[in-house]
Symmetry: C2
Subunit: 464 residues, 2 copies
C-alpha cells in the first residue's frame, strides 16, 4: 500500500496532499516505473476519504504524466527518471540595479525631465476617457507600425513644426530609440556600417553597437560631421544630430547639410539617420528645420522621440522611413507588433490632437529657457574665466574651465557633492585637446544651480 | 538690392517673410555664394520695417547656415549648392494596414481576448492613483530589466501559481514576446539554432526567424516534442510549450520533460525556452506546473505574458533567466532600456499586488470555461462525426471533421461567413496526414458559436 499521511489541514485540501505525496514518491524513485497504484476505490477506503478526492488526485497526476491509466487495468507509474533534485535554491542576489545610486546634491545631469510642469491632470483626464468599455477594440492587437491616428497626429506635428516631408504611412512608432534602431536593422536585413559624429550621444552608439552595426567615428568640426572624413570610411549610414549636435551643440549649417546629402546620393545603399532628439528646445529664433525637409532623394531616415519633451518614462518614439525603405520594411519586418501599448498610443494621440502637447511644449520651453539663462548667468558670475559653448538650445551647456589638474578638479567636485560630465566620455575614440564639461539643467533646482556653480568656482580658485 | 515683397499678412510675420524669401533665393541659386547682403540697417530702411525685424531674419538665416557674418564686413551667402528641389511630393499611399479586414460573422479566431469582463474601473482607479505629482520619479528612466516592484510581484505569482523557482533579479520585463526573444538573442550574442515543435505557434517561429535564429522543426508525438528527433538536429535551443502545446493542446508529461531536460544537460550551451503562454487557462484539475520548476541545472528560460490573461494591448511579458544566463545578459545587454512604459509597469504592479489579477483571472477562467464547454457541446450536437482534441485547457479546440473535399469545404464556409483555422497553417514544414481545424472561442459570442457550428454541420452534411 502507498505511504500517505493525511493531515486535517485547512490550507491544503486532501486531494492536494494525496497528489503531492504520490508525486514526491515517484520523483524520488520510491514508486518505481510501472508500479501499479491501488484502485481509486481501494485507496479512498483505505484513507477514509471520498472516492472523488482520490479520482481528482489521480486525474491530476495523469494529466502531468506521472501516472497513466491502462484500460481495464488501472493506474501505473510512468517513466520519470530524471526529476530527482527539485527544490533548488536560487541563490542569485538582487545586486545589480537594485540599489539606488546615492544622489549627489548638485548633479548637473543632462538627462531626465523636469516633471514640475507635467500635466498630470490632463493625462489623467485622457486616460479616464479612454478606459471605458466602448473602447474594447483598443485592447486588441493593433497596426504593427502603431495606430493610424497617432501616426497622423505625428505627421501633422512634423510637417508644421519640423518641416519634415512626411505621410502617416511612412511613420513607424516604437518604444524608444532602441526599438526604432532595431526595426531599422531588421529593415536593412544585413550588417550595415554607420559613421557617427565623434563625440556622440553615447546611448545611440551603444545601441547601434549592440545591434551589430559596424561603428566608425567621424571627426566633427565647427559645422558638424566632417563629410570629407565620412567619405574616407566605407559607411552605409551616417548618424547625425543636425539641429543641435549631441553633445557639442553645433548646428549643422545648410552648406554642410547639402554636402551630407550629396554623400548619401553617391551610392544607392547610403542613408542618413537624422536624430532630431531635442529640436523642440531652442530659445532664440525659430527652430532649425529638419535636414529631412531638404532631402529630395529619399535618403534621410528621420527619428524623433517624446521622451524628452514629455517624460523619459513615455517610451514613445518614431521613425520616418523614405518610401524606398518603407517597401523594404514591409518586406523584411513582418513578425513584430508595435512595442508601444495601445493605451499609451491613444493618450498620446489625444494629447497631440487636442493641443495639449503644444501648450505643454511652450511651458517647458519657457521653463528650460529660464533655467538655461540662469545657468549661463551663474557660470559668468561664479566661475570667472570659464568659456561656454552649445548655448541657445537643448538642455545642457558645454563649459571649458581651462584647467590642467583634471583629476584633482574632479575629485574635489565629488567631495563637494557636485557632478558634471566630462566631454571626453562622449568620444568613441580619441580625446578632446582640452577637457570640457557638460552641465545639464533640466532636473536641477534653481537654488542648486547657484550653489553648484559657486562651489565649482571656489574649487577652481583653489587649484588654479 | 534684394527682391523682397512684403505682405501685410496676419498669418506670417514680417521677419518670417524676409527670412523665407532670402532662403528661397539662396536655395534657387538666385543669390549665389559669397553675395554680400545689404546691411540690416539699409534693408530695414528699404523695406520700411524695424531694424529688429531684419536682425531677426538674418539671425535665423545665419543659424541655419544660409548666410554668415564676417566681422566688420557684413553678411555673405554661404555655399549651399545642392538644396534645389525642396518641395517633393510624398506620394506613398496609405494602403497597407490602413483598411480593416471585413469582419466575418462567425470567426473562430484563436487570438484576442474577451473584453467584456475587463476591469476598466479598477484600471482607471489605479491610473488615477499613479498620475499624481508625488510620483514624478516614475516618469524618469527606470531599471532596464523593469521596475523591481513589478518583478517582485511577478516572482510571487510565478512561485505560487506556476511552481517556478525564481528570484526577482532573474526576471526581465519586455514589451511582448518580440522584445523578450530579441533580448535573449542579444544575451547569447551569437547565432543560435532553435528546435521548434511542428506544428508551432507561428508568431514565435516568425519572430525567431526574423531575429536571425536558425529554425529547425522537430516532430511532435502524443507526448509533445520528440526528444530523439531533437537530438538528431544540432540545436542550441528548444522552444516548447509544455503546459499546453500550441496549437495541438498536448500536455508534455513528466517523463518527456525529464528527457528534454537531459537533452539540455548533455551540452553546456543548450537551453530550453519554455513558453508558458496560456497556462492560466485550465478548466479541470489544477494547473500543470511549469517545466522550469523541475529543472535543477539552470537549463530552462521561462517566458510568460499578460497579453492573454489581461488584454493583447497590455504589451507586458517577462522572461526568467537561469543564473548562468543572467550573468551573460548583464554582460551583453547594456544599452537597452526597458521597453515597457513605467506607468504601465506601475499599474500592473498594483493590479497584481492588490489581488485584482487573481480575481480577474478567476472571472476569465469561468467565462472561458463556459465558452469552452458550450463550444464542445455545440460541436457534439451540431457536427456529428467530428472529433475534438486539445480540450480542457487554453482558448481553442482542435477539430477533425474527417473530410476529403478540403477546398470545397473551406470555400463553402467562407460563403456562409464562417472562419476556422486549418492546422496545416501552423506547420513549419510538411502537412498533417489529415487536415484538422482550430476553433477559438475567446472573442466569440455564445449565440454565434451555436449558429457557426450549425452552419459547419450543414455544410458537412451537404458535401459528405
Amino acid at each position: 500500500m502507498l505511504m500517505i499521511e493525511l493531515e486535517d489541514n485547512e490550507k491544503e485540501p486532501l486531494y492536494e496532499q494525496i497528489y503531492e505525496q504520490i508525486k514526491h514518491q515517484i520523483q524520488m524513485g520510491d514508486l518505481p516505473q510501472k508500479t501499479k497504484l491501488p484502485s481509486a476505490r481501494k485507496l479512498a477506503a483505505y484513507l477514509d476519504v471520498s472516492r472523488n478526492t482520490v479520482d481528482f488526485a489521480y486525474g491530476q497526476l495523469a494529466a502531468e504524466g506521472y501516472i497513466e491509466s491502462r484500460p481495464r487495468s488501472g493506474f501505473y507509474v510512468c517513466q520519470v527518471e530524471e526529476l530527482a533534485a527539485l527544490d533548488i535554491h536560487v541563490e542569485t542576489e538582487e545586486v545589480r540595479g537594485g540599489e539606488k545610486k546615492a544622489q549627489m546634491p548638485y548633479d548637473f545631469s543632462p538627462s531626465g525631465t523636469d516633471m514640475e510642469y507635467f500635466p498630470y491632470h490632463v493625462w489623467r483626464k485622457l486616460l479616464k476617457e479612454i478606459m471605458i468599455n466602448d473602447n474594447s477594440e483598443l485592447f486588441q492587437k493593433g497596426d504593427p507600425r502603431g495606430d493610424y491616428e497617432l501616426r497622423r497626429s505625428i505627421m501633422y506635428y512634423l510637417r508644421q513644426s519640423r518641416g519634415v516631408h512626411v505621410h502617416a504611412s511612412q511613420i513607424v512608432i516604437g518604444a524608444g530609440m532602441e526599438n526604432l534602431l532595431f526595426l531599422l536593422r531588421q529593415t536593412f536585413g544585413k550588417k550595415c556600417v554607420v559613421g557617427l559624429e565623434n563625440p556622440v550621444y553615447t546611448n545611440a552608439c551603444g545601441i547601434l553597437r549592440e545591434l551589430g552595426f559596424g561603428i566608425r567615428p567621424v571627426a566633427m568640426d565647427h559645422n558638424g560631421l566632417n563629410v570629407d572624413d565620412l567619405r574616407k570610411i566605407d559607411a552605409d549610414l551616417a548618424y547625425v544630430t543636425p539641429a543641435h549636435q549631441y553633445p557639442t551643440g553645433v548646428i549643422m549649417p545648410a552648406g554642410r547639410r547639402g554636402q551630407l546629402l550629396r554623400w548619401a546620393r553617391e551610392k544607392e545603399e547610403r542613408y542618413i539617420i537624422e536624430d532630431d532628439y531635442d529640436s523642440e528646445f531652442r530659445y532664440h529664433g525659430k527652430p532649425i528645420p529638419a535636414l529631412q525637409g531638404l532631402d529630395s532623394s529619399e535618403k534621410v531616415i528621420y527619428m524623433g522621440t517624446f521622451s524628452r519633451a514629455i517624460a523619459p518614462a513615455i517610451r514613445v518614439g518614431y521613425i520616418v522611413l523614405p518610401p524606398k525603405l518603407l517597401d523594404l520594411y514591409h518586406k523584411n519586418v513582418t513578425a513584430f507588433s508595435c512595442s508601444v501599448s495601445r493605451i499609451d498610443q491613444k493618450v498620446l494621440t489625444l494629447f497631440l490632437s487636442e493641443g495639449h502637447f503644444e501648450r505643454h511644449l511652450n511651458r517647458m520651453r519657457n521653463l528650460y529657457k529660464e533655467k538655461h539663462d540662469l545657468l549661463l548667468e551663474c557660470i559668468r558670475k561664479n566661475i570667472p574665466g570659464a568659456s561656454v559653448s552649445g548655448e541657445g538650445a537643448g538642455v545642457h551647456l558645454i563649459v571649458n574651465f581651462h584647467i590642467r589638474e583634471k583629476e584633482e578638479f574632479e575629485q574635489k567636485l565629488r567631495q563637494q557633492g557636485v557632478v558634471i560630465y566630462p566631454l571626453s566620455f562622449y568620444y568613441i575614440e580619441g580625446t578632446p585637446r582640452e577637457e570640457q564639461y557638460i552641465l545639464g539643467f533640466t532636473r536641477m533646482k534653481k537654488e542648486d544651480m547657484i550653489e553648484g556653480t559657486r562651489r565649482i568656482g571656489n574649487i577652481l580658485s583653489m587649484i588654479k
